[in-house]
């Protein structure tokens, strides 16, 4: 039975179903099936409300008042791209309003042997094994924004790395929004072969300063045996936009996955990792550093399944909240009966800079094995007066002391990024965002 929706939400649902109907890119075959199933799931789920446990604190009341539509052609942004590029060498992939821009990106044909990279639009139109591409739809359709993505997805990237290859430069995927009212429905697929290694940096920005746009992303990452994947995602869209990202990661034996999410923009952003440790001796790190101010909501969450022995997982999620901002953390570590010798640790720490900001944290463990080491914790507070005084007593003025403490607090999860260039770059991005809070200026 379809749930009861407010008239506004109903209108939004009908709008997106209509948009999906307009796509008309699949008259038969796998893609048609994927689209149909997605529409069916979305018609049922539509938009969660505060009554849905997983959406209690991340409200969509603002989101449903918008009707975001895909745009095909975009303003000329070539001149702006340089401002969004890091100073270290990368392989550049640029999307404008959700559409792959061949002219702004590096030449994908010049990648080393064994590494193939194409736009997801190309995958959709040319791949004749779409059943493999969409093998993971069941999990994706369990998320309302996964369903919305599945019925509207048009572009994104598809990266395949065969065994024993290393992509030496980071793949830098830049998403630029240019138009209020637009939606980027992105689908990414990353398949990393045995003993291979890649580094991904994904950045979401708005070229327009005002007016809401939306990014709704689904990324699937498949990490084969002994492979190593490092990922950094930075969400810096303008303050009225929306960001939803569902990542589904599957790891095989002895692989290593390290992901870091930084969030400073958007009206409402929600970043979800669904991580499946399907092998022995797997390691991973999932960290986040989020800043929210004014009436922003930032939601970072993780679901981690330890499904085999000797798994090692680490998480550190930090939030700095100012004004009337809302922070949400939800983390679940599930340890299967088979996953003996699991070592799992999940920490969430939050610093509140105002009297009106709010943090909702829910770390959870579900353990079915008996020989495991698992811990979770969450702490929320204001800057410790004793720390401020200690720095003052050494001649550092109060404002500088508060800045130093807050910066150190926020940057702790950044330390797990082992590429020094990326670490420095992320640090700079976060410092710029911190300067917009009401911390006194030193």
């Amino acid at each position: 039975m379809a749930k009861k929706l407010s008239p506004v939400a109903q209108k939004a649902r009908d709008f997106y179903l209509h948009e999906a109907g307009k796509l008309g890119d699949a008259s038969s075959g796998v893609l048609k099936q994927v689209r149909d199933q997605a529409q069916e799931a979305f018609a049922e789920q539509a938009f969660p409300t505060a009554k849905d446990e997983d959406w209690q604190y991340t409200k969509l009341t603002g989101f449903v008042q918008n009707h975001f539509a895909a745009v095909q052609t975009s303003e000329e942004v070539a001149g702006k791209i340089n401002a969004y590029m890091p100073s270290f060498p990368v392989i550049k992939l640029v999307f404008v309003d959700g559409n792959f821009s061949e002219s702004l990106s590096d030449d994908l044909n010049e990648l080393p042997d064994g590494i193939s990279l194409e736009s997801f639009a190309d995958t959709l139109s040319m791949n004749n094994e779409l059943d493999k591409v969409f093998a993971g739809q069941d999990k994706i359709l369990a998320e309302p924004f996964g369903s919305l993505n599945s019925m509207l997805m048009r572009d994104g990237f598809c990266l395949q790395v065969s065994a024993n290859k290393a992509l030496e430069l980071p793949l830098y995927v830049l998403h630029v929004q240019t138009k209020a009212g637009s939606i980027s429905s992105l689908r990414n697929r990353v398949v990393v072969g045995e003993n291979s290694e890649i580094t991904l940096v994904e950045r979401y920005v708005s070229a327009h300063e005002e007016g809401a746009a939306c990014s709704n992303i689904v990324t699937e990452i498949d990490v084969a045996k002994h492979a190593r994947v490092k990922q950094v995602i930075v969400q810096q869209q303008n303050d009225s936009s929306y960001y939803f990202n569902n990542q589904f990661i599957s790891q095989a034996d002895s692989s290593n996955f390290n992901t870091f999410f930084a969030s400073t923009g958007s009206d409402t952003s929600r970043h979800q990792n669904h991580l499946y440790m399907n092998g022995e001796h797997i390691e991973n790190t999932q960290n986040s550093a989020c800043i929210a101010r004014q009436s922003q909501t930032v939601d970072s969450r993780s679901y981690t399944e330890h499904n085999d022995e000797h798994g090692f997982s680490r998480q550190l999620h930090k939030f700095v909240l100012d004004d009337k901002a809302v922070g949400v953390f939800n983390g679940m570590i599930r340890v299967d009966q088979k996953a003996q010798k699991t070592d799992g640790q999940m920490d969430n720490k939050n610093l509140i800079l105002s009297n009106t900001a709010k943090m909702d944290a829910k770390p959870q463990l579900e353990i079915y094995a008996d020989d495991v080491l698992c811990s979770h914790g969450s702490a929320t507070g204001q800057i410790d007066e004793n720390q401020i005084f200690y720095l003052q007593a050494r001649g550092i003025n109060k404002a500088a002391a508060m800045q130093m403490i807050t910066k150190a607090f926020l940057l702790e999860p950044v330390e797990d990024i082992n590429n020094a260039d990326i670490r420095k770059w992320i640090t700079d991005q976060l410092e710029v965002a911190l300067a917009k809070t009401h911390l006194p200026k030193a």
Partner: protein
């Protein structure tokens, strides 16, 4: 006169409980003063009020520091003018390295003294000298401020900071509490190394044992918010022998 405390009265800001009730103290350059007293006498309050902790409110009296009104200054200003507090419980600051912390602090002092800033390399060299002077571990600078330090290490870190900041007046707030004999010796050795004819110390302590290593010129007994007795080192010995009971009896409020 380096420090001149006259009729100092202070209360706990929150509860308005009066702790210091008219305290007088004069410290000349190069002198070492010990302030002893039973628990609750106001020893740590005196240290906190002099350093400028906001939890206390001064209700009367004056404190003159090197010719300036100390009570008129923010805590950081007091530090910049040369007042140093060694904390009873040095604070942990996760993520801030000792190096960043001390480079910032040293440069704040240098700015005050009209000296140019030390860059990273100059600071490293300067800090290395002090680490060698105090015989401390070389990795001290790289570690987060006091995080994961033992009680003894935290207090040695405070002494290291003292060496870097080269203050005029060092107030040691029960630095000896909780230290084993080896740590106590190291701390005392640090103080003795830094002592000179211009730099003064106020050693606040409950026990006499630190004073075996750092010999004070003057010993004061603080009780019920006032200094009730002053003397030389022999007074510390006398207190060690007889405890505070006699003094409490003599000066109990009616």
């Amino acid at each position: 006169m380096l420090l001149n405390v006259q009729n100092l009265q202070a209360q706990v800001e929150e509860t308005e409980k009066q702790i210091l009730k008219g305290l007088n103290l004069e410290v000349k350059p190069g002198e070492v003063h010990a302030i002893m007293g039973p628990n609750g006498a106001g020893k740590s309050t005196l240290a906190s009020v002099l350093a400028g902790r906001e939890d206390y409110e001064v209700t009367d009296g004056s404190v003159d520091f090197d010719g300036e009104d100390l009570l008129d200054m923010d805590p950081e200003e007091r530090a910049r003018k040369g007042l140093f507090l060694a904390f009873q419980y040095p604070v942990e600051i996760p993520g801030v390295s000792n190096k960043l912390f001390m480079q910032t602090a040293v440069n704040a002092m240098r700015e005050e003294r009209g000296l140019p800033e030390l860059d990273m390399f100059d600071f490293d060299e300067y800090a290395k000298e002090k680490i060698e002077l105090l015989d401390m571990r070389a990795d001290l600078l790289e570690r987060s401020v006091n995080v994961g330090f033992s009680g003894g290490e935290k207090k040695r870190n405070d002494i290291f900071q003292m060496a870097l900041l080269e203050p005029k007046l060092c107030i040691m707030d029960e630095t000896d509490s909780g230290l084993d004999i080896d740590a106590l010796r190291l701390v005392a050795n640090g103080v003795n190394t830094l002592k000179n004819d211009q730099r003064s110390f106020i050693i606040v302590t409950h026990y006499q044992r630190l004073l075996d290593y750092i010999k004070p010129d003057h010993v004061h007994v603080l009780y019920n918010g006032r200094i009730v007795k002053s003397g030389g080192f022999e007074l510390a010995l006398e207190l060690e022998e007889n405890g505070y009971d006699e003094i409490i009896k003599q000066h109990q409020d009616a």
